[in-house]
C-alpha cells in the first residue's frame, strides 16, 4: 500500500524518469542476454574445436583477420553483410506481426533470377544502364514481394503454416530458376555452369565512391532505418504490433489483420528480392546456382540475434558477414571443412534460442517497482 501511495504521489517528471529507467533496463536486457548467448556459443564452439585438436584462438584470430583485419577484408565483409541485412529484414518484419518466415532464400533467388531474365532484352536493346538497373530492382522487389506475399496470404486465408510453406516456396523457387537456367534462358556459350546471359561490364552495378563495396549496403542500411521508423513511429507499425501481440484483440478493434499480414510479408519478400538483385547486378552478373549461397538462412539467425529490431540488424549482419567472409581463410589455414561456419551458426542459433528462457529472470533488468514487491 505504501508503495502505491508513493507512486501516486510522485510528480510527473519523476514518473517520466521512472519510465526511462524501465526502458533502459529492458533495452539492457535485450543487449546483455544475446551477448551472453554469443559468449556461450563461442565457448562451446571452442570446446568443439579443442575436441578435434584444433586451436580455438587461431580460429577466432583468423575470423578477425579474415573478416575485419585489413581494408580489403573489411570491404569483403561489408559486401557480404549487404544481402544479410536485407534477408534479415525479410525475417524481422513478419516477426513483428507474429510470423516465422524462413523463405528469404527463395525470394532472393526468385528476385535475382527475375531481374537477370528481364535484363536480357534491355541489355540487348542498349537501354541506359540507370534505367535498366531501376527496372531490374523494381522487378526483383516485386517478384520477391509477391513470392512471400503468397505465403502471408495462405497463412491468413487458409491457415497454412507460414514457416513450412515459406521453406517449400524456397525449394520451388530454386527449381524454377534451374528449369529456366538449364533450358530456355541458358547461355549456351557457357558450357560449364548453367547460367542466364551475362549482363556485361557496362551493365554491372558500380561500387560506392571511395570503396570497393556495392550499393546494396547503402540500400540495406537505409531500408533498415526506414523500416525501423515505419514499425515504431507510424500508425501502421502500431497496428502491426497490436496484431502481432494478439490477433483476436486486433480484429476486435477493427484492424485489417489479413491485410497487415500480407503487407508485412510483401515488404519482407521485397527486401530479400532486392538482395537477389544486388547479387546479380553487382556480384555475379548473371543468374545461376551461385545465388543459392545461404544468405537467406544466415539472415534468419541475424534477425533473431537482433531481436527483430531493424537497426540492430545492421551490426549483427556485419559481424556475420565477417564470419562468412573469413570462411575461405579458415578453410585454407586450419584445414577445416567449409561447413565449419555452418556449425558455428547452428550452434549460436540453438544457444540463442535457449537463452530466451533467461528473460525476466534477472532482477537487475526489471523495473524497480517489481523489485520492491518481491
Amino acid at each position: 500500500m505504501a508503495e502505491i501511495a508513493n507512486h501516486l504521489g510522485t510528480p510527473p517528471a519523476a514518473t517520466r524518469m521512472n519510465d526511462l529507467s524501465i526502458r533502459v533496463r529492458r533495452s539492457a536486457e535485450y543487449v546483455a542476454i544475446p551477448l551472453f548467448a554469443l559468449a556461450v556459443s563461442a565457448v562451446l564452439f571452442s570446446l568443439f574445436l579443442l575436441a578435434l585438436g584444433k586451436s580455438p584462438s587461431e580460429f577466432f584470430q583468423l575470423v578477425i583477420r579474415g573478416g575485419f583485419g585489413t581494408a580489403f577484408s573489411l570491404q569483403n565483409t561489408l559486401q557480404r553483410s549487404a544481402p544479410l541485412i536485407l534477408t534479415a529484414l525479410a525475417v524481422a518484419v513478419p516477426a513483428r506481426i507474429g510470423l516465422v518466415i524462413i523463405g528469404g532464400e527463395g525470394a532472393l533467388v526468385m528476385g535475382g533470377f527475375a531481374a537477370a531474365a528481364l535484363a536480357i532484352p534491355m541489355v540487348v536493346g542498349h537501354w541506359p544502364p540507370l534505367l535498366t538497373w531501376f527496372i531490374m530492382a523494381v522487378t526483383a522487389a516485386l517478384v520477391g514481394g509477391i513470392w512471400i506475399g503468397i505465403v502471408g496470404y495462405l497463412r491468413h486465408a487458409r491457415g497454412v503454416n507460414e514457416t513450412i510453406s515459406s521453406l517449400l516456396m524456397t525449394y520451388i523457387g530454386i527449381a524454377i530458376m534451374n528449369f529456366f537456367v538449364e533450358g530456355a534462358l541458358r547461355d549456351l556459350s557457357n558450357p560449364n555452369k548453367p547460367s542466364t546471359m551475362p549482363l556485361g561490364d557496362a551493365y554491372m552495378l558500380g561500387k560506392m565512391p571511395g570503396t570497393d563495396v556495392h550499393w546494396g549496403l547503402a540500400v540495406g542500411v537505409i531500408l533498415a532505418i526506414i523500416l525501423q521508423i515505419l514499425l515504431t513511429r507510424t500508425t501502421f507499425g502500431f497496428a502491426v504490433r497490436v496484431a502481432g501481440g494478439n490477433a483476436r484483440a486486433a480484429l476486435a478493434q477493427g484492424l485489417p489483420v489479413g491485410k497487415l499480414i500480407v503487407i508485412c510479408c510483401m515488404i519482407a519478400g521485397a527486401c530479400a528480392g532486392l538482395a537477389g538483385f544486388f547479387e546479380v547486378a553487382a556480384i555475379q552478373g548473371r543468374a545461376n546456382a551461385s545465388l543459392v549461397a545461404g544468405y537467406g538462412f544466415t539472415g534468419i539467425l541475424v534477425a533473431f540475434l537482433a531481436r527483430h529490431n531493424p537497426i540492430a540488424i545492421i551490426p549483427v549482419a556485419i559481424m556475420f558477414g565477417g564470419i562468412v567472409a573469413s570462411g575461405g581463410l579458415i578453410q585454407r589455414r586450419m584445414d577445416l571443412p567449409d561447413a565449419t561456419v555452418l556449425v558455428l551458426q547452428g550452434l549460436t542459433f540453438v544457444v540463442l534460442l535457449t537463452s530466451e528462457t533467461l528473460y525476466g529472470r534477472f532482477k537487475i533488468f526489471q523495473p524497480p517497482t517489481t523489485d520492491d514487491r518481491t
Binding site: N161, L168, M169, I176, N178, F179, Q345, T357
Partner: protein, 306 residues
C-alpha cells in the same frame, strides 16, 4: 508411348514410390509421435541429413550397414533429445528451436561428412517384388528394401499403441491437454522429451535409408527438404500413423515421376518434375489446413496449427 514403355514407366513410378517414400515415412512417423505429445520438431530435416551421414560413416568403418542404421537412429535421438530438452525451458518457442536444429544438424553433418563423399560404404541389401514378371527392367524397378517393411510395421504398432496402451494414452493426453495430464500426475515435459527423442531416432533411421539404399551414397545434396515435407505430411495424414504411410507413398510417387520418365528417355521438364513434391506438399497444405476434419484430429496443445 508403346505398351512396354508405358509398363516400364508405370512400374518405375511404383518402385520409385516405394523407394522414395521410405525416408518420408520414417520422418513422418517420428514427427507424428512428437506432435501427438504436443510439440512440433521442425528440425527433422537436419536430423535426416545427420542420420544419412552417420549411417554412411559407420557402415564404411564397420562394414555392417545395419550398424549404420542403428547409429543413425542414435544420432537422431541425440538431436531429438536436444530439442526436447531445450523446449521444456519456459518461454522457448519450439518452432524457432526446430529451425535452429535444422541448421545445426545440417552443419554437423556437412562438417564430419566431408571425409565420406568419396569412399563407398557397404549398402543395405534389397529384394525384388517384380521377379515373377521375368522382365529384368521391371524387376530392377521394383527393388525394395527391408526398411520399408520396418517402417510399415512401426506405423501399425504406433497406431495400435496410441489406441490401446497406457503409454499411448499418456502421449495423447500430453498432446491434447497438458493441464489434464498434469492433473493425472503425468510429467508433460518428460513425455514430450521422450517422444521428441524417439521421434528423432525414427527420423535418423530415415536418413540412413537415403545414404545406404536410395540414392545410396553420401553427398551434401542428399536431402533437399524431405524432412520438412514429412512434417507437412503429418498434418495431411491428420496425425494417424497409418495415414502417414499412405501419404508418404503418395509423396514418393510424386518424387518418382521425373526419374521414371527419364529412364525411358523423356528428359524434358526434369526440373519441373523435381519441384513436383514441393508443389504437391504446398497444395496439400492449402487443401488440408483449416479443414474441419483436420481441426477435429489436431492435438490440442500443438502450436503449428494455431
Amino acid at each position: 508411348m508403346s505398351d512396354s514403355a508405358f509398363a516400364i514407366v508405370f512400374f518405375a513410378i511404383v518402385g520409385g514410390a516405394l523407394r522414395v517414400s521410405t525416408p518420408f515415412m520414417f520422418v513422418a512417423l517420428g514427427e507424428c509421435l512428437t506432435e501427438k505429445s504436443g510439440r512440433v520438431n521442425l528440425g527433422l530435416e537436419g536430423t535426416l541429413v545427420l542420420g544419412a551421414m552417420t549411417a554412411y560413416a559407420v557402415s564404411y568403418h564397420s562394414g555392417y550397414p545395419w550398424l549404420g542404421v542403428f547409429a543413425a537412429g542414435l544420432s537422431g535421438a541425440v538431436l531429438g533429445a536436444m530439442h526436447g530438452y531445450i523446449c521444456k525451458l519456459p518461454k522457448v518457442n519450439d518452432i524457432a528451436v526446430g529451425i535452429a536444429m535444422m541448421l545445426f544438424g545440417t552443419g554437423i553433418a556437412f562438417f564430419f561428412g566431408k571425409a565420406y563423399i568419396q569412399p563407398s560404404a557397404p549398402r543395405l541389401e534389397s529384394f525384388s517384388l517384380g521377379a515373377w514378371t521375368g522382365n529384368q527392367q521391371i524387376a530392377t524397378a521394383l527393388q525394395i528394401n527391408p526398411l520399408l517393411l520396418v517402417g510399415i510395421a512401426v506405423a501399425i504398432l504406433m497406431a495400435w499403441a496410441f489406441a490401446n496402451t497406457k503409454w499411448g494414452l499418456i502421449v495423447r493426453m500430453a498432446g491434447d491437454s497438458a493441464p489434464a495430464a498434469t492433473a493425472m500426475g503425468v510429467s508433460v515435459d518428460l513425455v514430450r522429451f521422450l517422444s521428441t527423442t524417439f521421434g528423432g531416432f525414427l527420423a535418423g533411421v530415415g536418413g540412413a535409408f537415403l545414404s545406404l539404399f536410395y540414392p545410396g551414397s553420401w553427398n551434401q545434396g542428399l536431402s533437399s527438404g524431405q524432412g520438412l515435407m514429412a512434417v507437412a505430411l503429418v498434418i495431411f495424414a491428420r496425425w494417424s500413423p497409418v495415414r502417414c504411410i499412405i501419404a508418404a507413398l503418395l509423396f514418393g510417387a510424386a518424387g518418382a515421376i521425373g526419374p521414371a520418365l527419364q529412364s525411358v528417355g523423356i528428359t524434358q521438364g526434369y526440373y519441373f518434375f523435381n519441384a513436383a513434391p514441393y508443389i504437391l506438399t504446398l497444395l496439400i497444405m492449402i487443401a488440408s489446413a483449416g479443414s474441419k476434419r483436420a481441426m477435429r484430429d489436431v492435438p490440442g496443445e500443438l502450436s503449428i496449427t494455431k
